[in-house]
Symmetry: C2
Subunit: 418 residues, 2 copies
């Protein structure tokens, strides 16, 4: 293969049909931001929208904004927009709470739907909060359930997994693994779980907004997702929750706060769950954070997810080629799948000095992140990542290695948040 040049990457940018989308983000041209899988950047439309929400809606219209600006419906109106991105019906998604809280809700509801099955099947390398939430609920329910870890890829092949026995109530998996980047075949796993009588809960935090997700066609029972990564909804943006239509009446989640009541403003004495997805709501939603999320969702909805995925694959292809050509000799190896059909929108490189190398990169404004013990993680978010960004990231990484820059003491210091 002919080595890639900066010219090649500029040409790829010129023919990129998503090129103009980058202009919708506040991203300094001197930054290469490859950490949108941790915190998406600021859409240019967000400050003005929030300014209006703060000064006009809160400041001037005050309490009346719950009606006048329809704050009260935001969890469902944003949910209905987001539904299009993940193959759900507009009545199957609500935006609310955090990913963790939403996982807790649907896991509790799902276990109730399978009262005779006591196993929760998941993967050991889940984003930890997923496992923590399972453990917290199990403990609360008296530790009658069993948490079983498996290789989730074994669930992709019909009949090939002994894990899916008739004790399995719920299969809870990440659609894309947050470290390895491995993308699971959601339809295949869901269908195998279904045949085994188990329900599925999909954590799409590292897939929704970065690649096509089709919860409906996959037959997924429940899903949750994140607002602050690929949806660019702002730091700690509310998450979202999906409950397939057929489970909405039967699956009652335990956090039965007033926003999930059939008639919240009638102030009835007893809880009556709302019909439909609204029964996933609990308390009063954080409106400012919801409005920032809506801007991010609107932006993502402009672009066909297929185009996003195609560009993501292309960005990763050139990054992998450049890694092979220029980084392998510095001790980097590829830890994420090379096959684009099973890889999310990120690449992980392994290096024994990964932590200080990433700090040195960040000092040069090439921003990825580090995951213990030795993973440098790079997210390629096609809405704002250019092909020349990939070139620059590799150039800087080469410099950091050649000059041994990473070996400065400041880059070894541990930060609170990595």
């Amino acid at each position: 293969m002919v080595p890639l040049t900066a010219d090649d990457l500029e040409k790829l940018d010129q023919s990129d049909r998503l090129r103009s989308v980058r202009d919708q983000f506040e991203l300094s041209p001197d930054v290469v931001y490859l950490d949108g899988n941790s915190l998406g950047p600021l859409p240019k439309a967000t400050p003005a929208r929030l300014e209006k929400a703060i000064r006009q809606e809160w400041g001037k219209d005050l309490i009346n904004s719950w009606n006048k600006h329809n704050w009260v419906s935001l969890p469902l109106t944003i949910g209905a927009k987001l539904a299009k991105l993940v193959g759900a019906g507009p009545d199957e998604v609500a935006c609310c709470d955090s990913v963790s809280v939403n996982l807790y809700k649907v896991l509790s509801a799902a276990l109730e739907l399978r009262p005779d099955r006591m196993t929760i099947l998941t993967e050991e390398s889940n984003f930890p909060t997923d496992t923590y939430i399972i453990q917290g609920l199990m403990r609360q329910l008296g530790n009658h359930h069993t948490l079983r870890f498996c290789d989730p890829t074994s669930l992709e092949h019909p009949g090939s997994s002994h894990q899916l026995d008739d004790s399995v109530a719920v299969v809870l998996l990440s659609h894309v693994n947050y470290v390895s980047g491995r993308l699971l075949d959601m339809a295949a796993v869901t269908s195998n779980a279904y045949r085994a009588g188990a329900l599925t809960i999909w954590d799409t935090a590292h897939s929704a907004g970065a690649l096509p997700v089709d919860l409906g066609a996959s037959g997924a029972d429940f899903a949750v997702g994140c607002g602050y990564k690929y949806l660019n909804g702002g730091p700690g943006a509310p998450g979202w929750v999906y409950v397939a239509r057929q489970h909405q009446a039967g699956a009652q989640q335990p956090l039965s706060g007033w926003f999930g009541h059939a008639a919240p403003f009638d102030f009835e004495r007893n809880f009556r769950p709302a019909e439909g997805i609204r029964n996933q709501l609990c308390g009063t939603p954080p409106i400012l954070s919801m409005i920032a999320l809506e801007v991010g969702v609107d932006l993502a909805c402009q672009v066909p997810m297929k185009h996003v995925r195609d560009k993501s694959n292309a960005l990763i292809r050139v990054f992998l080629q450049l890694t092979d050509e220029r980084l392998a000799s510095h001790g980097f190896s590829v830890a994420s799948p090379r096959d684009p059909s099973i890889c999310g929108s990120q690449v992980c490189l392994r290096h024994s000095n990964g932590y200080p190398i990433m700090q040195a990169l960040v000092a040069h404004k090439v921003i990825g992140d580090f995951r213990s013990p030795d993973i440098l993680r790079f997210g390629f978010c096609p809405l704002y990542t250019c092909f020349v960004d990939v070139w620059r990231a590799v150039e800087v990484l080469c410099d950091v290695m050649v000059n041994k820059e990473w070996d400065q003491p400041e880059f070894h210091k541990k930060k609170a948040v990595t």
Copy 2:
């Protein structure tokens, strides 16, 4: 008693030591805002602070803000500030999630601490979400617990309540009732519950920020509170949760998300609760809403709660006198306590045409709210309510009655949010 005049109220404003605090709020001079117990108004400092958070912290510093701007500690740093307002130690309060979610956490933890007691004692006229959360948890745990309603004032007198039998695990009460405005004697109830072996959970949504709350001196076990009412933290601002120091190690809440882990960024496989109040956290906090809350908390912290309470009592005293002098003849009666020592920072008037009367008032920019079936609710928030506001509210209310303005069809229309 000599009837009050506009002059009298102007004089009260002139000698009001909190008078200048109103200048710190964006409140149009033509609005009389008596609904801060539902949504506090916008502090003037909030837009600039949020602009910085949005453009600089999120927009420019991106993911690094978790460290650089200490986003990661916001739940505890805001909690420590807020602790001063409610008589708690700086290590006993965390800001996070919603009131409803926080109630769920502490109720689940409290029930675990009293495994042999199966009764939850509360009041029927709680803000409904409190009862809904109890019901949701009871159902989830298999309906082994009993929900018992009582007159909470009966718990204020030692030995006078047969409600506090040895089946009572938890007493969950509102410090100030959201409709009646009745303020309970927290110390007395807590002490009586303690003697009966029960734990207390206080919902301070309608007291904290409006009057002195002393969780520590009262011996309260758990408490929750609201960010968007008297703390002026913005619509749907995160709530807060208090766990008395002695329960922090023993009481494990079930929503064990990664922010409550001992080492969240070590990405360990198994959940290990953080020591101290941080184990009340669950998912990633909504930073923009948190930052708005911090401005509100900072503002409230400037002013001694005793001054706030004194002014609140004075505002209510003149409103009650004017009600007697000018409104009683129009069919209004006082539904909140007349004794200031047992009344929160609100007054409720009862009128059979309460709903359209309140809509007519709002049309004249005198903003209170209505609670079914016949309560007009007026919050007197001493940080920004002037004595002349009280005069104007009564004037407008008189006009609305004299001219039968409330009987226009538009004022009878039901709104989604009341």
